[in-house]
């Protein structure tokens, strides 16, 4: 060794002296730089994704939250026996009786043309008249008495209270004139109109009157449709996957089947709608627009995803478990159903629920099978006409009345909550079934 004090033992003499541990040469700097760059790109990508998410959810919330607030009005109504023909209760103009009560409340008189009464009628929901009819039908003795009726204000009045219709807008450009706005201000001031949580939005079904329209029918329709989808797609998909993965011989035919399943997963959903129209409606005569036909179509759509998810979950089960079961003399089927499938269950569940969540949000194929009709109620059976949440969103978005637009956003919020609940269920199920090996 030429320089024993500098070169540590083990380094051959004549080799260049090693740099100190803290020295950074050009190559090292380059390596650090590229790593920093990569991390920065990753952070940037996440930030961009988060911005999109916040904008999306924020916009929907801002547009939709006001739906959850509503303005209700309580008014004493005198059931004038002169106006009620007891032989034809259905034919009575209850709306006018309500208008009379409102005019009395506001201290105004109707003119000969009925302009005042129609202006008053434009402020309260037609629900009032309907409520009167139901109550009178139930109890004839109410005629001649005064009853208290509570209901929501008309959508336009609601929009005024929420600041969507402004007094500063020119009178001819808004749906309510100055007199109507004055009345609304008075009703609000004297406490006749109250602000509250809009339960009707959750308990009512679709309606032509925006203030009465709700998502109940669509939620039930979606739930019924998903039941059909789950009952078909999950057992069929899981069994197909188990057969393909565990039992089927590996040959050209199974390769072809596998490729086709993967391709089916990528087929645009509207194509499934066309298939459903031809197969289920035209050929098998399943009722149009029913939860049954919707569920069948979505089951076809979800099937490839369920198969693919199940197969990958089965593949992830360690072969040592299969060997263990076969080694003690379990048959192939016992091995699969006692050991492999239970271990794959968390993955199967996750895949199945995610594909159901996907099916829940599907709109296009349902439009093809006639689910776009106006359905003012929850479906009574799997074969009656139904509407579902995404289609309800689609219908309301196309409505001309402005009050429907805030309902569109609110329905989207309900749909998102439905999905979050399903995804949470997927996570919980996965945790519960998860076992380590």
């Amino acid at each position: 060794m030429t320089d024993a004090s500098l070169s540590p033992s083990g380094i051959t003499p004549g080799a260049p002296a090693r740099p100190s541990l803290s020295a950074r040469d050009a190559l090292l700097k380059k390596r650090h730089r590229s790593e920093k760059l990569f991390r920065a790109q990753g952070v940037a990508a996440i930030v961009v994704a988060m911005i999109f998410l916040v904008v999306l959810v924020g916009r929907i919330l801002v547009q939709g939250y006001s739906t959850f607030e509503t303005h209700t009005l309580t008014v004493p109504v005198y059931l004038n026996p002169e106006r009620i023909d007891t032989s034809a209760l259905e034919g009575v103009n209850y709306d006018y009786i309500v208008a009379e009560a409102m005019m009395k409340k506001l201290g105004v008189q109707d003119d000969d043309l009925g302009t005042v009464s129609s202006k008053v009628q434009a402020l309260v929901s037609r629900d009032f008249g309907n409520q009167l009819l139901q109550r009178v039908k139930k109890d004839h003795s109410l005629i001649g008495k005064t009853v208290e009726v509570t209901g929501s204000v008309k959508a336009d009045a609601d929009l005024y209270y929420k600041g969507e219709i402004k007094r500063s807008t020119a009178e001819e450009d808004r749906k309510l004139d100055n007199q109507q706005l004055d009345w609304l201000d008075r009703l609000k001031k004297d406490g006749t109109v109250k602000t509250g949580f809009n339960t009707q939005f959750f308990t009512n079904s679709d309606s032509t009157e925006p203030e009465q329209a709700g998502v109940w029918g669509a939620v039930i329709g979606s739930a019924m449709m998903l039941v059909i989808t789950a009952l078909i797609a999950i057992p069929v998909g899981v069994m197909a996957a188990v057969y393909l993965e565990e039992f089927a011989p590996k040959n050209r035919w199974t390769d072809i089947i596998e490729v086709n399943i993967n391709n089916l997963a990528a087929v645009p959903s509207i194509v499934y709608g066309l298939l459903g129209l031809a197969l289920f409606i035209n050929w098998l005569h399943v009722p149009r627009g029913s939860p049954l036909v919707g569920g069948l179509v979505l089951a076809l759509m979800a099937l490839p995803t369920v198969i693919i998810a199940t197969r990958s979950a089965l593949k992830a089960v360690p072969p040592s478990i299969r060997e263990a079961a076969l080694g003690v003399g379990a048959s192939k089927a016992q091995t699969v159903f006692h050991h492999v499938l239970p271990l794959a269950m968390p993955g199967v569940m996750t895949g199945a629920i995610l594909s159901l969540a996907h099916a829940l949000g599907e709109t296009a194929p349902l439009l093809m099978i006639g689910m776009v009709a106006f359905v003012p109620g929850a479906p009574e059976s799997f074969t009656s006409s139904a509407t579902v949440l995404p289609v309800q969103v689609f219908i309301w978005e196309n409505a001309s009345e402005r009050a429907f637009h805030e309902r569109t956003a609110a329905a989207i919020i309900v749909l998102l909550v439905f999905m979050i609940v399903m995804n949470a269920a997927a996570v919980i199920l996965r945790r519960r079934f998860e076992r380590r090996w």
Binding site: E323, V328, A330, L343
Partner: protein, 281 residues
Amino acid sequence: MPTENRDDTIAHAPALAAAIPAGHGHVTTGEFKIRARDVNVFYGEKQALFDVSLDVPAKSVTAFIGPSGCGKSTFLRCINRMNDTIPSARVVGSIEIDGADVNAKTVDPVVLRSRVGMVFQKPNPFPKTIFENVAYGPKIHGLASRKDELEAIVESSLKKAGLWNEVSDRLHQPGTGLSGGQQQRLVIARAIAVSPEVILMDEPCSALDPIATAKIEELIDELRSQYCIVIVTHSMAQAARVSQKTAFFHLGKLVESGPTEEMFTNPRDTRTQDYITGRFG
């Protein structure tokens, strides 16, 4: 290179040596549990075993040694037809257990595997409780009709596997929560529970520490009195410690087999000698 079966005798049965012609014949005695003749195994196009002929004595331990990829595990898996699970695998030749060909069409691998248990390299208990692990085999084979019978089988199996004292108070806890050595003994108990005649062990100690290994070896020695045990091992020392007969495989061929003591002290083939003395492998 033709297979060489120098000596089919085991140490305590020298009289049989003359009775058994090497390489062929159909003499079946109580002393030999498994008789393999001209076994060839193919994985697709690749041949993994060449003309292996070997007799495995009953109620003793036979060790298969050899470098990695020499075919000893392949041969082991032929005995209980675990190779059936590999689609490309093809087995030619005859393997008889008590004179019955295991590859015969009439033999159901499910029945075969209940008589030929197997213990794998990595402990692989089911992710279930200790009790369920041991009870699974008897349950599917219908060995117990009542719950107390099943409990008796589980207890005696765990006792035979030397695990009872350690787990008797936690039978309903997961088997995967045991230590590696305990798991391997649990797996042995699971194999014993279906009352097999043969137990195949594929490098059962390679994932274990020396203390756990010593326990397993002790257990193997105890089980020898009741079962025909075949063990694949990488450890020459282990083969010398636990086995009465040793077979040396190299490149898919059975190079030589014979009583363990003789094999280690006086190997006939130079390859065996080189391997045993650590010159390759």
